[in-house]
Symmetry: C2
Subunit: 192 residues, 2 copies
């Protein structure tokens, strides 16, 4: 089939194209129609695979979350897990990966953690990034590297701090150079 009437894998193709468009222009400036046009498909074809434009964007957001998770996974794979120094490196590495994602993939970050995707999606407590954060804090705690008595609720505190810094970076409220210092600052606050 040279150019079959049926596309065959429209769903994936649309997510891919939407992902590229979001990366390039940001979710607000991406139209269903332009995505369809890029795939040589009629605009209404999308509705066989997605309920909404928002439904499609949510799929793109999942890719964003996966991309972030992969960055964090790479950090864990790169650092050995044995020494105590490594425990701290793993923690700061995870933080830098989070902020790096925000800096490198501004638009995708905005979609992934924006209102469209956050509503009606899995509780972030079960997402890969959050689990990795929790595990890293547990690791620090097990080795006695945390300041005493601060472990309860620390997940949320650190997550909020990192996520907040990421949004400030994304909005240009703060220059990218401040990212590393911020991570170091967090690490200094929670470790002895």
């Amino acid at each position: 089939m040279i150019r079959s009437y049926h596309h065959g894998a429209l769903a994936e193709a649309m997510v891919d194209q939407a992902l590229a468009s979001v990366r390039a222009q940001g979710a607000d400036h991406v139209s269903l129609r332009s995505i369809a046009q890029a795939l040589d498909v009629s605009p209404s074809a999308a509705y066989n695979h997605f309920a909404d434009k928002d439904d499609l964007l949510r799929s793109v957001g999942s890719c964003g979350l996966a991309a972030l998770d992969e960055r964090m996974a790479r950090v864990l794979a790169a650092h050995p897990a044995d020494t105590a120094d490594a425990a701290r490196s793993r923690f700061t590495g995870l933080g830098r990966a989070y902020l790096g994602f925000a800096i490198d993939e501004t638009h995708l970050f905005q979609l992934t953690f924006g209102p469209i995707c956050m509503a009606k999606q899995l509780p972030p407590g079960e997402s890969g990034p959050y689990i990795k954060l929790t595990a890293s804090l547990d690791d620090l705690d097990r080795r006695g590297l945390l300041k005493p008595g601060i472990r309860p609720g620390l997940d949320l505190t650190v997550w909020a701090a990192t996520h907040g810094m990421a949004t400030l970076l994304v909005e240009g409220a703060v220059p990218p150079e401040s990212a590393d210092g911020f991570i170091e600052s967090i690490a200094n606050l929670i470790t002895k």
Copy 2:
């Protein structure tokens, strides 16, 4: 003039109406046309006073920032500034005001700190809320209540943390009940 041809104060009226609409439905679901219709004015009348829809929304965002600043100012006015205990109360009070604004005025918060308003606006380092935060940290520092050596860069760290928690609250990623515990957790991390 009973119903003059000219409105007379369209600019302010549109900001007021837009503010109300944003509070009710969120900035994404507010249209220029509906605002104009609510004021019995033609849609294009707006363009005598605002360059864009975004330009109008930026004015609404300024109101949001002002509302937040007022909440924080009320906290400072309510707490006496003399005792050392009060210094800590002022700090946590400021944080609670910030999160309270996010919880009570979800939509307005999203607009005020969203991409539309953050771009092309005053650097947040000069905004009322940020200045109040800095002053509060200086106060704690002056009284020797901060952990030693952490003051440099603390503004950014605390701001990011609080702002991050606010966005998580706003997106429903975290329940409102966790707000107070979060503030306490931050205070415990930075004070002796």
